[in-house]
Subunit: 195 residues, 2 copies
């Protein structure tokens, strides 16, 4: 196929992860999403639990406070060291063979390659709110509030590490509204471009 | 087909107009682009030449200076009156039958309709620079400078009249990098969604 690697950036609750897994299944290639955590843990020396807790959507104050504290003598925070480990893992995976990579600024990390199809998946707040309640259940916070928090955090993380704006159409080859088009059609459009 | 109307917003030099015409030809429906000028002239009472000169990319100082001057007793500038005529023309066309509409904030003007596929076409500066030289020839100004000016003007015009950001993926159902994917593939993806 023309594109060896497919990166999927996605808004929280847009179904981007599900789309990535299905695209990978249809193309018979691996999809890296949660699987990256183990690899980043190995690469960085941090524990998988620590990697999860320090993700962009980190539970303990989020990446931005982490990025601003606990710096080593080179000025790198734990968050920076994790990002560097993530970068190396993603570069190695892309080198190793065709795959789908969900999130983690993979589109930007792999920008030097010409065999990467960069996809962005988004949907309206209403559609995403419905989806996260179906997927993760009700919480004390309203789904709209959860979405706003995640969107803000993800955009800030992306901008900090890539210097480009999350969700700007020109950063992607293909941007799809999964709420409008449906997940199956998104999968079809992506696989069509890869065959 | 599911979508009666297809709106195509596009970066200058991305081939969005060509894509719109080909999509319309393949679906056997009209494409409104330059054709809108005559209709807006009739609706507004201004001459077609005046409509062209006062477009977003207007030759006489651009829309923003026009928007800020020559106001009538209701506070509307000629630019506002032209936009209002444009809005009415686009609403009427959408009501009249299936069609493709290129540019002119049609995506936002038709936001209340559920039968509109909103498409955004973009490409890298390098690809667009090459295309505008092929299409419109060399000028004194470099193609990169011409693109920067047009991009800025179009984004400002769009933001002024729609209150949303030009080129933000979440404003469109489908956003395509025509420089990367090629014009034919863009046409295929759009028509696939309309059949």
């Amino acid at each position: 196929m023309r594109y060896r690697i497919i990166t999927i950036s996605r808004q929280f609750g847009s179904g981007g992860r599900t789309i990535g897994k299905e695209v990978a299944a249809q193309l018979g290639i691996p999809c890296y999403d949660q699987e990256l955590i183990q690899k980043i843990a190995q690469e960085s020396g941090f524990s998988p639990d620590y990697v999860v807790s320090r993700e962009e959507e980190g539970r303990r104050g989020g990446w931005i406070s982490n990025a601003l504290t606990s710096r080593d003598w080179k000025g790198n925070s734990n968050q920076d060291r994790l990002f560097e480990a993530q970068r190396r893992v993603i570069l190695d995976l892309a080198e190793a063979g065709p795959c789908v990579i969900v999130g983690r600024c993979a589109d930007d990390i792999l920008r030097a390659r010409s065999d990467v199809l960069k996809v962005f998946i988004h949907a309206s707040v209403e559609k995403r709110a419905r989806r996260i309640v179906e997927q993760y259940g009700q919480r004390d916070e309203s789904p709209e509030k959860r979405l706003r928090d995640k969107d803000k955090r993800r955009a800030a993380y992306y901008q900090f590490y890539t210097d480009t704006k999350f969700g700007q159409a020109e950063n992607y080859h293909l941007a799809l509204d999964s709420g409008e088009l449906g997940l199956d059609r998104c999968v079809d459009l992506i696989t069509t471009l890869c065959r």
